[in-house]
Symmetry: C2
Subunit: 385 residues, 2 copies
């Protein structure tokens, strides 16, 4: 298999983008990524599109062809990949496999979701849960993750304040990210005293409903310097599945799929969790950020809350977590998130992250979760070949 | 890249399966394919699932994880691929790429759709067209393909009877297929005098609304004899895109994506159209079967109607087309169709197709179309290594 590198990335601003349609968003991201790669569109051999629920949100399936047409890239193969909120991570992984295998040289992975100004989001998002055993019984994602938060507090003495602090950190970083949906800081009191959604969560524990798109161009590592002076190399790209239904799990306080995918990624990359300088983790709800930093092996199980409290995951901490603002502040257009994570880590490793730059970042990781962990994708990226 | 072979296939009966849920169907197909491969489930390294519109039909996305759980195969990577009615063909292709690349050894590609006993099918299927420019204006798939039929009649003198004959042939073959939705013959008069759907089509020109699933197991060609005495070898697997909207095409009487994908497949396999003994083509409407046999190069453009009339595509004709009954008679559970086509060609090349066997078939082709040709997948399969 060939080594693969990232030579172009982009992300539209995330937010309530009422003047932009589904197709507008992904074409904007695609064009920017191609420009970032100093590549002409006719060099792109294939596309993978991460999108969760175009069918329910905008009545549009067949999204690969739609995007191939509207970006002017037909007749190249264009394939939509769906894995709920991990759709972007899996689309990226298919692009990496397509290049590694030798099938294609230059491949675009893009992600997109149009969630505002369309139908009600919560029932559509609930399609990522088990329809028969969860969604039809009234379980929504805030309520499912809320159970995990309560159980973590019970098992490990994690405090409500520690969990809420994950949102405070997200907004602190997001305030420095011009592409973020929310570019302002919030206080711990704001999170704790916000409108209740599902105990213990207030609205500030929950990532927002967002429109947005992101795109990445990958090519064989040996060709990367043709397109950019600072290629970012993919050291590992892994994926694991777990039960889609939360009630079938052995534990409510860890995502087995995060553990499996990340351990496999560390093995393939020949690194350890402690070697990672910067990570974008999937904080769809505050508790999931906390579970992630434990399950990825950055901190011992049960110690995530303390790590947050002690400032260990700030940009200048032991490991910089979510310098982009994460799902909470950058926004969470479902299918775009996994690609936006890769774009952020690429900017960080290139040294292009401006005010939110993590100094000296050389090795980064992305962690993208579908549902309550039914799917997890992990990527390890490096500025060194 | 490694050569890849098919070692197990399955298809549930297609039809109105009111006693079977979405997940029941795909688990049934998966288990049968694993048994057919004489393989235990723990040998499967990854899964790809073709499904068009679980979100709109049954409120279920995140289908990869759902199926990994319910087939007991988690934590292996499980990825859903969507390209409207070509979802199955693309899922199969991703499985082939995953093995060819060396990422995985044994991979399952499955396809599934639950279309009856749920919501109204036509609006959901319309999500495969361009939502803004076609579906929202009231265009449905029968009406889009009907325009192509009229134009073919106008440009080439194709007769209404020639087009309708494609359905008669489908039912003639389907009558011999115990897995087909419709196992009875129909007459030309029945097609011509059926309830009008969109001129010139009656209901008998249209493939039915179906429930069903199918699955295929692929592995490296060099390992295939471990699992079966009659592996079927994948000589080419290609894909092309076109505009999703019909009005943007240069021609209404050919699918450019079929031409591009098939010519590339012939090149890769080192064969010509005339070498193909048996093909499963995408006759979602009668006219599309006729376009397919022309665009795939089996007959000259404009001569497809005459070929049907002269019996050249019967099981004992110049090339056997749709011995399974095709989408018209076997049924068309959208995401399952591309996989069911591969299963049928595998049975034919193994010599396992019983009453519908095409004598001496050695080289076969599958042709799977998304929308009105926005996506096309072509596979060339051989009983010879």
């Amino acid at each position: 298999m060939r080594d693969v590198a990232i030579v172009g990335v982009s992300q539209t601003k995330f937010g309530e983008l009422w003047d932009k349609s589904f197709r507008d968003l992904v074409v904007e991201a695609g064009v920017e990524a191609i420009n970032d790669a100093n590549m002409s569109g006719d060099k792109i051999d294939a596309m993978y599109i991460g999108n969760m629920t175009g069918g329910l949100f905008v009545g549009q399936e067949h999204i690969g062809a739609l995007i191939a047409e509207h970006s002017g890239l037909a007749p190249i193969p264009s394939t939509r990949v769906e894995a709920a909120c991990a759709s972007g991570g899996l689309a990226f992984r298919q692009a990496v496999m397509a290049v590694a295998s030798g099938y294609y040289d230059n491949v675009m992975a893009a992600g997109v979701e149009k969630m505002t100004d369309v139908v009600d989001a919560t029932p559509a998002i609930a399609a990522a849960a088990d329809r028969e055993w969860e969604a039809q019984q009234g379980a929504t994602f805030p309520s499912l993750y809320a159970m995990m938060a309560h159980r973590h507090m019970y098992e490990y003495g994690t405090t409500r304040e520690q969990i809420a602090s994950f949102a405070v950190l997200g907004h602190k970083n997001g305030a420095l990210n011009p592409r973020a949906q929310f570019q302002r800081e919030i206080s711990l009191d704001t999170v704790l005293n916000g409108t209740k959604v599902a105990s213990p969560f207030t609205v500030f524990d929950c990532s927002p409903v967002s429109d947005g798109a992101a795109a990445v161009i990958v090519c064989p590592a040996e060709d990367a310097k043709k397109y950019t002076d600072t290629p970012i190399y993919i050291k590992a790209s892994t994926q694991a599945s777990d039960t889609i239904a939360l009630h079938s799990r052995k534990s409510l306080t860890q995502l087995e799929s995060t553990i499996i995918a990340s351990r496999k990624a560390y093995d393939i990359a020949g690194v350890e969790a402690k070697d990672i300088d910067v990570a974008e983790v999937h904080d769809c709800f505050t508790i999931n950020g906390l579970l992630a930093i434990e399950d990825l092996g950055f901190f011992e199980k049960g110690k995530g809350g303390q790590a947050i409290e002690q400032g260990l995951i700030e940009r200048d901490g032991q490991i910089a977590i979510n310098p982009s603002g994460g799902l909470k502040a950058r926004g969470h257009p479902l299918g775009a998130t996994g690609i936006a994570q890769v774009a952020e880590i690429t900017w960080q490793l290139r040294g292009d992250a401006d005010k939110r730059q993590v100094d000296g970042a050389e090795l980064g990781l992305t962690h993208n979760v579908g549902g309550t962990g039914g799917t997890v994708a992990v990527q390890i990226l490096s500025r060194n070949k």
